[in-house]
Symmetry: C6
Subunit: 86 residues, 6 copies
Amino acid sequence: MSLENLLPLELIDKCVGSQIWVIMNSGKEFVGKLIGFDDYVNMVLEEVTEIDPGEGDRKLTKILLNGNNICMMVPGGDGKIVFEDK
Amino acid sequence: MSLENLLPLELIDKCVGSQIWVIMNSGKEFVGKLIGFDDYVNMVLEEVTEIDPGEGDRKLTKILLNGNNICMMVPGGDGKIVFEDK
Amino acid sequence: MSLENLLPLELIDKCVGSQIWVIMNSGKEFVGKLIGFDDYVNMVLEEVTEIDPGEGDRKLTKILLNGNNICMMVPGGDGKIVFEDK
Amino acid sequence: MSLENLLPLELIDKCVGSQIWVIMNSGKEFVGKLIGFDDYVNMVLEEVTEIDPGEGDRKLTKILLNGNNICMMVPGGDGKIVFEDK
Amino acid sequence: MSLENLLPLELIDKCVGSQIWVIMNSGKEFVGKLIGFDDYVNMVLEEVTEIDPGEGDRKLTKILLNGNNICMMVPGGDGKIVFEDK
Amino acid sequence: MSLENLLPLELIDKCVGSQIWVIMNSGKEFVGKLIGFDDYVNMVLEEVTEIDPGEGDRKLTKILLNGNNICMMVPGGDGKIVFEDK
C-alpha cells in the first residue's frame, strides 16, 4: 500500500506550476495555475478564471484563496464536467 | 472498554487503500479510494465519484478534500443508502 | 463549585462505550456508541443511526465525525425529543 | 482602563456554576448552568433548556457545546428578550 | 510604508475601552464597549446593543463573542450606515 | 518553477499599502487599502468601500476583517467585474 500513499501536502506540492480546479465552501469555483501554498492550504493562483454558470466566467490575474474555506482541489481540472449516465 | 477503543486517526489510517464515503459540510458527497491523509483530516482520494442525485454522478481521477470542511467519513461506504422503515 | 466542575474532554471520555447523540452544524443528527475521540473532538461512532425525520432513519456500521463541524453532543441521548408545554 | 479590562476566558471562568445563555452559529439557543469549559471555548452545560420559539422548548440533562460553533455567550441570560422601542 | 502599518491585534488593542461595531458571520450585529479580547479575537463587550432592523434592537449588559465567528470589526462604529449614491 | 513560486503570506505582504479586494465567506465584499495583517490572515483595511450591488455601497474609515472568514483576496482589485463572453 505504501507505494500508492500520497499525503495531502505532497499532492498540492506536485501541482505547483500547473493548472488546478478549486471549489470553495460557498460554491465559488476557480481554475488557475497554482504558484504557491502553505501548511494551512492557503493557495495563490495566477491566470484565474472564476467559473459561474449563472453570471458568466470572469478573469482574475492573481488571487489568494483562504485554505479554511477551500472544499475540494482537483489537479489539472478545468471545471468542465462530464456527467455519467444516471 | 479498551478493546473496542478506536481513535479517529486510527480509523482513517485503517482506510488507506480502501474505498470510503465522505460527506462535506456543504452537502457534497464523494466515494473513492483513500490514498493519503494528515493530522488535519485533509484527505486525498483516487478513482472518485461525486454523488449528486439531482445532477447525476461525475467521475474525478484524484482530489484533495479539505479536512476543515469534511462532516462525516464512512469506511467502505458506497453512498447507496438503505432506509429503515419509519 | 469544584465538586461539580467537569471539563469538556472529561465529559466525552466518560461517554466512551456508551450511546451518545450528536448534532452537526449542518443539522445532521446521529445516535451511536462512542468508541473513540481526540483533542479536536473528532469522534468515532459504532452502530449508528442517522436521524432524518423527513427521509427516514438510516443505519451505518461505523463513522468518523469531524469535530470541527459538531455543534452539540448529548450523553445517552437517543434523538427522541420530549417537548415542554409552551 | 485596566480596571475594567476582562479577558474572554476570565469572563467564562466567572460563569462556572451559574446560568448562561448561548447562541450557536446555526441559530440554536441554549440556557443552562455552565459546569466546565476549556481553552477552545468548548462548554459543558447542565439543566439545559434548548429554546426554540417555533417548536417549543426542550429539556436536556447535560450537553457539550463545541466552542468552534458558539456565536455568543451571555452571562446570567435566560433567553427572554426585552425589545427596545424602535 | 512602515509608518502606516497596523497589525490586527494592535487595532483591537487600541479599541479597548471604546465603542466598536461587530458583524458576525451569521449576520448578527452588535455595538458595545470592548473590555477585553485574546489572540483568537474572542471579544468581551459591555453595554451592548444587538442591532436587528427586522425585530428591533435589544440591550445586553455583557457578552462574549467567539472570534471564530466574527466577520468584521469597525472601531467607533455605531451600526448606523450612510449609503453613498449609487 | 521556483522563479514564479509565491507564498500566500508573501503575496499579502506585497499588498501592504495598496488597494485590495476581499470577498468574505458570507458574500460581503470590501475594497480598501491594506495596512496590516497577521499569520491568521486577519487584515486591517483603511479607506474602505463595502460593495453591495443591492443596497448601495458604503464607506468605512478603518476595519478589521477576520482571516477565518475571508474567502478570496485579489491584489489591486476594485470590485468592478469584467465578464467574458459566455
